[in-house]
Amino acid sequence: MRQLKDYVLRGLLWLSVLLSVAVLVMIVGYIFVKGMNLISFEFIFGDYSPTGGGGIWPMIVTTIYTIIISLVIATPIGILAALYLQEYAKQGRLVKLIRFATESLTGIPSIIYGLFGAVFFVTTLKMGMSIIAASLTLTIIVLPVIIRTTEEALKTVPQSYREGSLALGTTKLQTLYKVILPSAMPGILSGIILSIGRIVGESAAIFLTAGTVAALPESLFSSARTLTVHSYLVTQESGDIELAAAVGIVLIVIILGINISATLISKKLNKATNK
């Protein structure tokens, strides 16, 4: 009887794993099958043409812009905020409140951020529908992610490192910079990877703040279209599933590429510090 239970349970476990992998394979497979024959050099590096047959280079450029700008702003602010909360602030009610707030922020639907961005950055600050407005909105979206993951990473740094360093007559800043941050680096990096995923995957908030102009952006203040927004629009307007799937392939490859390189970097860092 106990043996039987064991078999059943093992079967259920297997089934769950199989199901989740199958769903992933199906989605990726479907997108690849549908979109693969559209993928060509011309498609990726060609300029967009509204009459069809053009490429998606402007959207790729816009997507990369938004990633870079929002990370450049969000990463330092997020890491510094986490350092303050974890290493400097007196652990009391205020810090708890701030932590609760950042946690809640990660759960807010991105369309809300989009609405805020549209009102605040686009209208009040008169940035107009632009890459910069979208990037700032994305900054707000990923900031809590970076703060949370950095805090978790700092928590995993053994207290004995802090004591060991401070007992050698170093200042708190030296200890942070030379011992704590390097040890927390892999965790912080994984937070940044997560953020890139959020940025690339975001569509609603960008739609509301960057607009939909399908051309190579002239400056940070031009309206532009990211890959996800493009994918949404072609499906919505012309029902061109194949084109949307092809865009999907490009997105998947970009994210995969970023993840792999980030993993390699963090492995390198680990080796440099541990070996």
Binding site: K90, R162, L166, G169, S183, N274
Partner: protein
């Protein structure tokens, strides 16, 4: 016995008394002169809870002073007041005085300077995830020493001072975390030595080590006392007996007895000390 003889013997006794007096005066004088750390009426509170009660100790220069006592008696807490490591804990309040080289540790706010002068070795080896070289050079580098030659020399001297040089000289650039626990602890000692401190505090430095490594660290401590004032917390009474000159017995946050190690282990004056060192509790 004739009166003459009696007088003679009396005067002898008197003479003897006098020499004893002179000797003890000299001893007191020497003790005062060589006193490195003077603790007077030290109380420590963790929030509401008092952890140390009126601790007064005189720790002499270039001797090993052992702090013994059962778990939670305050010996580690006391040790950490000497280099102000308790500052890291929120809500710690301290009254009383600690003088190191006649400077009041808690009135002088230069914690950095204090900690370069008073090094510390912890219970578990806590080397950083860096190379052996970088670990030992860490403190001097943070002091602003950049000259490669100077750093090389400091690292070599420190590792030699911690009796680990021969074991690691060919792998200075490899990770310190690849060493065995005993080796790591000796590199920790080297890291502390590299700051050229006067005093080294050790918080149960061998409690995580195997017997052979323990023996090596004990030998090292005995050799180090010619250069450093060492204060060591230990759970192991045999260890205290083997390596220390003076022993302080802590119980419930108080110093019950503080005397020569031999006295503490052979003829303690307090019943509780005797009960503890003979293993009746603790």
């Amino acid at each position: 016995m004739s009166t003459a003889v009696m007088e003679r013997s009396e005067s002898l006794v008197m003479e003897e008394n006098q020499t004893v007096k002179v000797q003890s005066q000299m001893e007191i004088k020497r003790e005062e002169k060589a006193s490195k750390i003077t603790v007077k009426d030290l109380n420590l509170f963790y929030g509401e809870k008092q952890a140390l009660y009126g601790v007064s100790l005189n720790i002499r220069e270039k001797e090993v002073t052992a702090l013994i006592g059962p778990s939670g008696c305050g010996k580690s807490t006391f040790l950490r007041t000497l280099n102000r490591m308790n500052d890291l804990i929120d809500g710690v309040k301290i009254t009383g005085d600690i003088m190191i080289d006649r400077e009041n540790v808690y009135k002088n706010n230069d914690v950095i300077k204090l900690r370069t002068k008073v090094g510390m070795v912890f219970q578990k080896p806590n080397l950083f995830p860096m190379s052996i070289y970088d670990n030992v050079a860490y403190g001097p580098r943070m002091q602003g020493i950049k000259n490669k030659k100077e750093l090389n020399q400091i690292v070599e001297e420190s590792l030699k001072g911690a009796a680990i040089w021969d074991e690691v000289k060919d792998r200075l650039k490899s990770s310190a975390l690849g060493l065995s626990g005993g080796q790591q602890q000796r590199v920790c000692i080297a890291r502390a030595i590299a700051m050229k401190p006067d005093v080294i505090l050790m918080d149960e430095p061998t409690s995580a080590l195997d017997p052979i490594s323990t023996l090596k660290v004990e030998e090292l401590i005995t050799n180090m006392k010619k250069d450093y004032t060492i204060v060591i917390v230990t759970h192991n009474m045999q260890q205290a007996a083997r390596i220390s000159d003076k022993t302080a017995f802590f119980l419930n946050g108080e110093v019950v007895e503080f005397d020569d190690t031999d006295t503490i282990f052979s003829t303690p004056s307090d019943q509780r000390t005797e009960d503890y060192v003979t293993g009746r509790f603790g």
